[in-house]
Every structure is written in structure tokens, then in C-alpha cells.
């Protein structure tokens, strides 16, 4: 049975139009994976000497275990945004003579083979080797290593439980924030010192291998909880018996002032508000807005002026990047309708453009309080906002014409909780890195004001040539019309 599943998986992956048409993206992903592998390897081999140097009078093994708590928290956050439960289209399997438990076990088992689970091994195994090489007892180090592997798997399954809860409810990121916040809060306010607790526990297990049963039991609990969650979902009626939600229609007549693109604006606003997938990009805006707080409070970063535009682009453009890169795939489900209706492509695209512009303006206004950390930051954010409107918005619209991946807004695929993966963030990177690079060079050659001016000029140029650029982009969309219709009508 497993053999059949593997066969299906293989075909699904390699026969999807997405894979065949996105070789470049795949290569980029592999490149990123290799990059992280190298980083983790370096960490694994370098950790012991570094710890010895930084904490000369402490046992480096104990110090390392003290950091495990932060790693768990960080890993959990990373996974929530980047890792999703492997999707398997189960509907065709339900009527075949296959036990439901086999399907569920397969999906869960497959998730254990995720790259996210292998990555830490590249650090843990070299670190263990170094420990043994430095005279630590082999049996103890091996027990520690196995405990770490169990912890990785616990994080893996814990993440899916959190994702399941955020998908069930309309709370979006709340479950994650509650879990992480509680853990971190307990530690930070010294109520329960999680860092030492987990550190001591790990050392305890390493010294008394019998205690490894505790994390094992925890893993088993997480697994069986996931098993139960998924098995309950494995009935047709959970996807067929749609939760019929009563429609709460908002008054969108204010969009009329945008003239002939008003119908599209209304459609887009409804699209965003009535689908889980798009709704979460609104919540991401809040996270994006707070992103600056990671950097600006620390004097170290406040010195790095060249970073400001990067953060500015991110803060003011988070919606643009998040929403924009799936244009026109948001409308993929009814793309044929749009193509046969009495519409002008340019109006359709202009509606998206205006939506993104409005979001940039709103985000900039909301980010004004960052002026508290210095007027340079405000100036950099302003330049970044102009750049976003003038350059990035057009770039992302243009990039959309290469979009060949359908988005299933209704999320009928049984296990699809989030539908956003690592790919999404990689596409966003050049949009943020390029202006940072431009600014950094001018800033270095001439000065801060010149750098800001360069970004603003680029943005204004984009706005000035807006009509011309839009015509070019529209032409590009028209040229790839048939290909897009074809790709959007395929299921994978």
C-alpha cells in the first residue's frame, strides 16, 4: 500500500505543471537548502570551540543545553510560517479499500521526512562528534543525540497541532502567539526558568538514559493527537458538508469613486475578506508593522543605516509582497470567466495596483511612530514607501504574468492548512534586497540624503511612467493569456 502512495506522490510532484514550468524556482530552493546545510554544519563543528572561548569557566555542554529552549521556540515559529502538512488528495482514496488509519499514518510519516527535520541534524551530529572527540562519554552523547532527534519530531508534530487550531478557528496566528508567548513569558519573568529546566532535563536524560522515555511518551502523545485530528477530517462530509456561513455584506459603495475599476475593487476586497487564505495576509500586515521593533530598539542596528530601507520596504510593502505575488492566481478559480467577460485587462490590473498602493500608504502612516528611534528611519521609510509604489508594485504585477500556479481559495484539499510555503518568501527577497543594495551603494559613495533621494527618484519615475508601464504589463498578460488559462484549469 505504501508503495502505491509513494508512486502517487512521485507522479503528483513531477507531473504538476508548476514543477515543470518553475525549474528556476526549484534550483533556487535547492540552493537555499544547501546554504542552510552549510551554515548548520559550520555551527555544529564550531559551537564547541566558540562556547569554550566565550564561557571559559563553564562546561560547554551545559551552556549549549541552556540554549535549546530558544532553539525550540525559534524552530516552532519558523515552521509555523514555512512548513505545512504534506498535502495528499484523499478524496479519491476514500472509496477504495484502504484503511483510513493507513492514509493518516502515511501523511504523518511523510511529514517526519521534511527538510526541516533533517536540517538540525547537520548541527547536532557534528556537535556530538566534537563532544566525543573532546572526551565526553560516548554513551551519554549518543543518548543526548537521540533525545534531540525526538525533540525535533515533537516540534514537527506540535507545529501541525498548532496549525490545525489556527486553521479551525478564525484566530490565525493567535494559537502560535499564545503558545510561544506563554513559554517565553514563563522564562522571561522568572516564574519557571524554562531555559534551565529544559537544559537540566536534557542533561538528566543524557546521564540516565531511562528518562528518554519521557520525551518519547510526549512524542507519542503529539503523534496520536495529530492522528486523531486528521482521522476525524478524513470523512467526505467534513469537506462536503460545507459550513454554510451567513453572509455579512459590507457596504462597499465608497469604491465607486474609483470609477470604472470599482467592480474589481469590490471584488478584490471581498476576495480578501471572505477567504481564509487571503485573510491571513491581512494579519501578516500586523506582524510586518511590528517587524521594525526587532531592529530599531537595539543600538547595534541603529548604527547600520543601510538596513533602514530594507526594513522600510518590508514594513510598508508587506501586503504588496504578500498579496501581489499571487496576482493573478487569486482569481485563478474563475479566470475563464474574467477572460470571456466584457472587461479590459488594464482595469483589472489597475484595481490591483491601486489596492497595493493604498496598503503601502496605510502602512507608511501606521509606521510613523518609528520616528521615535530617529528621523532618519522615518525618512528611509518614506523613501521605501515611494519606491514600493513606483517600482515594486509594477515589478510584482509584471512578475504575476509568469504565475502558473492555481490557488484553491476554498481549500478543499483535506490537509491544506496554510498553503504558503518557503517559496513565497524567496520571491519577496529581491524586492527588498535590491533597494537596500542601491541605497547602500549611494549611501557609501555619497551620503545618506543622496541614498534616500535615489530611492525616491526611482519611485517617482515609476509613478510618472505608470501608464506606459501598465501598458507594457498588460501586453505581457495578454501574450500569456492562453498559457495562464491552461495552467489555472489544472489541479496541481
Amino acid at each position: 500500500m505504501i508503495k502505491h502512495f509513494l508512486n502517487l506522490e512521485w507522479k503528483q510532484y513531477f507531473r504538476s505543471s508548476y514543477w515543470q514550468k518553475n525549474m528556476a524556482m526549484n534550483i533556487l530552493l535547492v540552493f537555499f537548502a544547501l546554504y542552510f546545510v552549510v551554515i548548520f554544519l559550520a555551527l555544529g563543528f564550531g559551537l564547541l570551540p566558540i562556547l569554550k572561548k566565550v564561557y571559559p569557566e563553564q562546561d560547554p555542554f551545559v551552556v549549549a543545553n541552556g540554549f535549546i529552549f530558544f532553539w525550540i521556540i525559534g524552530d516552532l515559529m519558523m515552521r509555523f510560517f514555512l512548513q505545512k502538512l504534506p498535502v495528499m488528495s484523499v478524496k479519491p482514496l476514500l472509496t477504495l479499500p484502504i484503511k483510513r488509519s493507513i492514509v493518516v499514518n502515511f501523511v504523518l510519516g511523510k511529514s517526519a521526512l521534511s527538510f526541516f527535520n533533517f536540517l538540525p541534524l547537520f548541527a547536532i551530529i557534528p556537535f556530538s562528534i566534537m563532544l566525543i572527540g573532546n572526551g565526553y562519554e560516548t554513551s551519554m552523547v549518543l543518548t543526548w543525540m537521540f533525545t534531540m532527534i525526538i525533540i525535533i519530531l515533537i516540534i514537527n508534530f506540535l507545529n501541525f497541532i498548532i496549525e490545525a487550531f489556527s486553521a479551525e478557528t478564525e484566530l490565525s496566528f493567535l494559537p502560535l502567539i499564545v503558545v510561544i508567548g506563554t513559554l517565553y513569558g514563563l522564562d522571561y519573568f522568572g516564574i519557571v526558568s524554562m531555559t534551565t529546566l529544559i537544559g537540566d532535563a536534557l542533561i538528566g536524560i543524557a546521564n540516565n538514559p531511562i528518562f528518554i522515555l519521557i520525551p518519547l511518551a510526549f512524542l507519542a502523545t503529539c503523534y496520536s493527537f495529530n492522528f486523531k485530528l486528521l482521522k476525524d477530517k478524513l470523512f467526505l462530509d467534513s469537506s462536503l458538508k460545507s459550513k454554510v456561513t451567513e453572509v455579512k455584506a459590507a457596504d462597499l459603495s465608497w469604491t465607486k469613486r474609483f470609477g470604472d475599476i470599482a467592480p474589481f475593487m469590490q471584488l478584490d476586497l471581498k476576495l480578501i475578506w471572505r477567504n481564509k487564505r487571503t485573510k491571513s495576509s491581512v494579519f501578516i500586515m500586523i506582524i510586518g508593522l511590528l517587524y521594525g521593533l526587532f531592529f530599531y530598539p537595539q543600538p547595534l542596528y541603529r548604527e547600520m543605516v543601510w538596513m533602514f530601507p530594507f526594513i522600510g520596504i518590508f514594513v510598508t510593502g508587506i501586503f504588496l509582497i504578500n498579496f501581489g505575488q499571487f496576482i493573478p492566481a487569486w482569481d485563478s478559480a474563475y479566470y475563464k470567466l474574467l477572460m470571456s467577460q466584457n472587461i479590459k485587462y488594464e482595469q483589472y490590473l489597475r484595481s490591483k495596483f491601486i489596492l497595493m498602493t493604498i496598503s503601502v500608504v496605510i502602512m507608511f502612516v501606521l509606521s510613523i511612530p518609528y520616528v521615535y528611534f530617529g528621523w532618519k528611519i522615518l525618512l528611509a521609510h518614506f523613501a521605501a514607501a515611494i519606491y514600493n509604489i513606483g517600482v515594486n508594485s509594477h515589478v510584482i504585477l509584471y512578475g504575476g504574468s509568469f504565475n502558473r500556479k492555481k490557488i484553491d481559495l476554498s481549500q478543499r484539499a483535506a490537509f491544506n492548512y496554510q498553503g504558503t510555503g518557503a517559496v513565497q518568501w524567496i520571491i519577496g527577497l529581491p524586492l527588498m534586497l535590491l533597494p537596500m543594495l542601491i541605497f547602500a551603494i549611494v549611501n557609501w559613495l555619497i551620503g545618506f540624503e543622496a541614498g534616500i533621494a535615489t530611492l525616491i527618484i526611482l519611485g517617482v519615475l515609476g509613478v510618472v511612467f505608470h501608464k506606459k508601464l501598465m501598458r507594457m504589463i498588460t501586453k505581457r498578460y495578454l501574450d500569456s493569456k492562453y498559457k495562464m488559462i491552461d495552467a489555472f484549469s489544472q489541479d496541481n
Binding site: 455584506a249 471572505r274 474563475y334 475563464k336 470567466l337 477572460m339 466584457n342 476554498s410
Partner: protein, 240 residues
């Protein structure tokens, strides 16, 4: 009204549609029948410029459909559920289509109120999203949306499938009215020979992409069609 010249569509060397010459005059109700894979949906997709013809072209009211978009204002269609926007209510969907076709809310309301019978009280005012409706009700909404804005050409792919018997009969009445009284060119495809012969003045049979029969509907047409399709069935059995 709709003139097809030397049209063919080839996928990887297999020709799925090949029509040398087909002229559909204005106000005709035109039926397309054929077994699966005969090329019905391919023809409609070409007519709506959703796929690119390999050779030839279709002219809709003297507009070449793959060259200009000017056929869109007077042509409307419902091919399948992918023509519906799932997260809208039926009313919102009608208004959206109305907006695109230059109809205000009052115009759209006036039109949809004529279809209260057809909707059977299950579409309007239910505060449900289109994605939550049953297949049959989705189809009803899609068909009525295709009638918004006084189109001159209406294209419906398999309009009778998934509908209950009462609605099928009502739909036939609506389609007949459109062609006879309002001079609308109606193109439908169907697997149900009885329904097409009831509705259409002219029926074209496609087989493996070729036009093999072009009939004016008369009382013997249904018999002729039934004979043809049972004949092609026994012929294919002989081949095996």
C-alpha cells in the same frame, strides 16, 4: 452572425477539432451534440478565445475572436462552474456581471425577478455564498448570469446536466423564447438528444472533431439522431 472558417485545433499532433466551414445566422438556436471527446467544449472554448486555434478562425459578428476583444460586449457564456466566483453571493455575482456589462442594480434586479420560477426560491435572498450552493443551483445562477446585459450571442455548455426535471423544462422554455422572440443566437451543447431537438432549430453532430451531420430540426430529427448514435455504437463494437 458566427462564421467559422478552416478552424482546427491540434494537441501534440492529435487533431481534436476540424471545422472547414460553419455559418450560424443571427437568431438561430444552434445545438451541438456528440460523444465525449467529439470537440464540443473545444469549439466553445475557441469561440470564447480561451484557447488558441491551430489554424483558421471564428468570426463573431464580423469580429475575429482571436484578434480583437470587441466580441465580448455582446457575447455571454456559461461553460462550467469555473465561471462562478465562489466567495460571492448569487446577487453579488449578478451585480458584478451586470457592472461589467453596463447594467445597474435595478436592471439586474428586473432581469433576475423574471426568473423567480426558475430559481425555485433557492438562489435569491438566501445569504449563501455560491461555493456553498449545490451543483444544480450553481448552474442555475451561472445560466441566468449569462443572460444579463441583453447579449446577442449566448453560449451554454451542457446546460441541462445536473438540473432537476422541472428546471430542465423551464430552461427549455427560456432558451426557446430567447431565440424566437428576442432574436438572440443561442448555442448549446448537450448529451440529451431529446432536449436539444426540443430547443434547437438546427443540430450539428460532431464526431472526433469533424462535423458529420448538419440537420434542420423537424419531427424526425430525434429518430435520426438516435439511429445515428446507436449506429455509431454498434460500429465501434464491430471495430473491437
Amino acid at each position: 452572425m458566427i462564421y467559422t472558417k478552416d478552424l482546427s485545433k491540434t494537441y501534440n499532433g492529435t487533431t481534436v477539432l476540424n471545422i472547414e466551414d460553419l455559418n450560424i445566422p443571427k437568431g438561430q438556436s444552434f445545438g451541438l451534440v456528440g460523444n465525449n471527446g467529439a470537440g464540443k467544449t473545444t469549439y466553445f472554448s475557441l469561440l470564447l478565445d480561451l484557447i488558441k486555434p491551430t489554424t483558421g478562425n471564428i468570426t463573431n459578428n464580423s469580429v475575429v475572436v482571436d484578434k480583437s476583444e470587441d466580441w465580448k460586449p455582446f457575447t455571454s457564456s456559461f461553460i462550467d462552474e469555473s465561471f462562478l466566483i465562489g466567495y460571492l453571493t448569487p446577487e453579488e455575482y449578478f451585480y458584478f456581471i451586470g457592472d461589467l456589462r453596463g447594467q445597474n442594480k435595478a436592471d439586474v434586479d428586473a432581469l433576475t425577478s423574471k426568473f423567480e420560477d426558475f430559481f425555485n426560491g433557492e438562489i435569491i435572498g438566501k445569504k449563501k455564498y455560491l461555493r456553498d450552493l449545490s451543483k444544480g443551483n450553481q448552474k442555475k445562477a451561472g445560466i441566468v448570469a449569462a443572460l444579463i446585459g441583453n447579449p446577442e450571442v449566448i453560449i451554454l455548455d451542457e446546460p441541462f446536466a445536473n438540473l432537476d426535471p422541472t428546471t430542465q423544462i423551464r430552461l427549455k422554455q427560456i432558451l426557446k423564447n430567447l431565440a424566437e422572440k428576442q432574436g438572440v443566437t443561442v448555442l448549446v451543447s448537450s448529451h440529451d438528444l431529446m432536449h436539444v431537438t426540443d430547443v434547437c432549430e438546427r443540430i450539428v453532430v460532431l464526431e472526433k472533431g469533424d462535423v458529420i451531420k448538419d440537420l434542420e430540426t423537424n419531427p424526425t430529427t430525434l429518430k435520426e439522431l438516435e439511429a445515428h448514435f446507436s449506429g455509431s455504437m454498434s460500429a465501434s463494437q464491430e471495430e473491437e
